[in-house]
């Protein structure tokens, strides 16, 4: 356990600058969007206020988030793309890098599956840290909004409303329903493990491995796609559907982990 945690830290430490750059990029782009949208709205209301009763000319932080989809979505999409590519890069850099770090990684006095799990854990830490950072940033942005908007134009809104105003937050990143959060991120975790195992297939069998990896990912995608396609208005009852979905998820996850552990322990070559 101790060695696994040390390996997790090693991976996080190696990639800390990437994480900080993504966080900084998120702060810069979202603040530009927030300030720009808020000032524009305040200026518009100031002009209208001279012409009509200003009692109803108010807007909330949630309104600004809703009106800044691009500014909030852009850094999230950039971060998502970078982290998506990093799922591959975290393995390949150990082979392609200057002094083939994989040599040292695989002769460490610990079970090789710890390397596999540590790399996956590092990815999960990066993803969850970015989303957690977004939550903190939203709090800071709300304070900034309160500073920028004169009280006569300010309307209150709860934090969840602001989150629900952005499609990316509401649909994927921060669903208000905790079960939905578990399902989405559970599928994300499975996807990371499946890609890891596909990478290991390629590293183990090289050219043939690419074919195996594609077939393997297609099989995983087919199983999950089948589970998702079960209809509420079909032959099965909702509870049966939920049990089947969880069962398929656990089977795919189990097969992925067993295959991944076996490849990393017995088959992988440097």
């Amino acid at each position: 356990m101790n060695r696994y945690l040390k390996l997790v830290h090693l991976e996080v430490h190696r990639s800390r600058y990437m994480l900080f750059v993504l966080m900084a990029l998120t702060v810069i782009i979202q603040l530009i969007g927030l300030v720009k949208t808020t000032r524009l709205r305040v200026n518009e209301l100031s002009e209208i206020a001279g012409l009509q009763d200003s009692a109803h000319l108010k807007f909330s932080f949630a309104d600004v988030i809703g009106a800044s989809q691009f500014w909030f979505g852009l850094p999230i999409l950039i971060s998502g793309t970078v982290l998506g590519l990093y799922v591959f890069f975290i393995w390949y850099r150990d082979w392609i890098g200057r002094d083939k770090f994989a040599y040292r990684m695989f002769i460490l006095p610990t079970a090789r599956r710890n390397v596999y799990l540590a790399k996956a854990s590092a990815i999960f830490i990066f993803v969850f840290a970015m989303v957690a950072f977004q939550l903190l940033l939203l709090l800071a942005e709300r304070e900034l909004f309160n500073q920028l908007v004169p009280s006569e134009y300010k309307m209150s809104s709860v934090f969840a409303e602001a989150v629900a105003s952005n499609q990316l937050f509401d649909d994927i990143l921060l669903p208000l329903d905790f079960m939905q959060f578990l399902v989405y991120y559970g599928l994300g975790i499975l996807a990371v493990f499946a890609i890891f195992t596909a990478v290991l297939l390629e590293r183990s069998y090289r050219w043939y491995g690419i074919v195996y990896a594609i077939l393997y990912l297609a099989a995983c995608g087919g199983a999950i796609g089948f589970a998702a396609s079960l209809s509420y208005y079909g032959y099965l009852y909702p509870r049966e559907m939920a049990v089947i979905r969880i069962g398929i998820y656990l089977v795919v996850m189990g097969v992925t982990l067993v295959l991944g552990f076996r490849l990393v322990s017995k088959k992988i070559t440097v």
Binding site: L19, I125, L174, F178, A242
Partner: protein, 296 residues
């Protein structure tokens, strides 16, 4: 410990942020409502639940209000797992279906046409009608009827079937009744360019054979630019036994079939109603009588 500061800080950030968000921040703080007794017996409203949408802030949310207070509902993963017996549980008048799912879950499997059910002390029936088109669109397709009958005393399940060639667009069951030894499957057949029609397809519950079909006389539209639309006035309980059925025949202007024109007027989509006649169909006699209210 100091050398692991980055990882520890990130893990703490994740735990604190998500913990706080899902414990406190994800709550929409919707207004609280509660049913209160103004006058009368409070016990009568004890089981009353009002369902509706709260619209405010940045969206609309489904709410249920009762004497206990209000709570947000919706088709969430957890609600489906916890509450839903089957697809018909969410019907407005779902009390029948809740108990049917509980008591006859095997029979109810895959059956979700609300109007296709009938239940009395001895029998539970589900009937449906499908219209199968031919590859050659010029030829008439076939209406296929099927009825699953469950004997509640013995648990024996029987399937009856019938078919009829008919030019149509679709066919769907609007009521099912068992009168004596006869099972009546009332079906609306929607046809293209001409009036819809209503057919009572009758089976013998003993032999399972189709006995006869009765086409209900609905009259004719008073002009070529008009058509008749049939609308069933449903029972309060979808599965209720009844010797008659109430339905409305509305004479209205034909909806424009010109889909090539971009400038379709709203008036073309909402046809003018010329008359509405309420009818009662008696299953036993096969007679159609005028209902209590008609508007000309």
């Amino acid at each position: 410990m100091k050398r692991y500061a980055i990882t520890i800080a990130l893990v703490l950030l994740i735990g604190a942020s998500f913990g706080t968000y899902y414990a406190l921040g994800a709550d929409l703080h919707l207004p609280k409502y509660r049913l209160q007794t103004v006058e009368g017996n409070p016990a009568e409203a004890a089981d009353l639940i009002l369902s509706g949408s709260y619209v405010g802030g940045k969206g609309s949310f489904l709410l249920e209000v009762s004497t206990e207070g209000s709570k947000r509902t919706g088709p969430s993963f957890w609600n489906q797992w916890k509450k839903s017996d089957g697809p018909l549980t969410n019907q407005a008048l779902s009390s029948d279906f809740h108990s049917l799912y509980q008591e006859h879950s095997d029979f109810m499997r895959g059956k979700f046409d609300t109007y296709g059910f009938y239940q009395d002390q001895n029998t539970l029936i589900f009937a449906k009608a499908n219209y199968a088109k031919t590859k050659d669109l010029q030829k008439s397709g076939t209406i296929h009827w099927s009825a699953d009958v469950l004997d509640l005393a013995t648990g024996k399940k029987t399937r009856y079937a019938d078919k009829q060639t008919e030019p149509a667009i679709s066919a769907h069951v609007v009521d099912v009744q068992k009168i004596g030894s006869e099972i009546h499957i009332l079906t609306i057949v929607t046809r293209s360019g001409i009036n819809s029609k209503m057919i009572d397809n009758i089976f013998d519950s003993v032999s399972g054979e189709p006995i006869r079909t009765v086409q209900l006389p609905l009259g004719e539209p008073s002009g070529p630019d008009r058509e008749l639309r049939i609308e069933l006035i449903a029972e309060a309980r979808y599965t209720a036994a009844n010797s008659r059925v109430l339905f409305m025949v509305r004479e209205q202007g034909k909806i424009s079939s010109d889909t090539t024109s971009v400038a379709v007027k709203i008036s073309d989509q909402t046809p003018e109603t010329f008359s509405e006649h309420l009818y009662v169909y008696h299953y036993t006699s096969g007679q159609v009588e005028d209902g209590p209210l008609s508007i000309n």
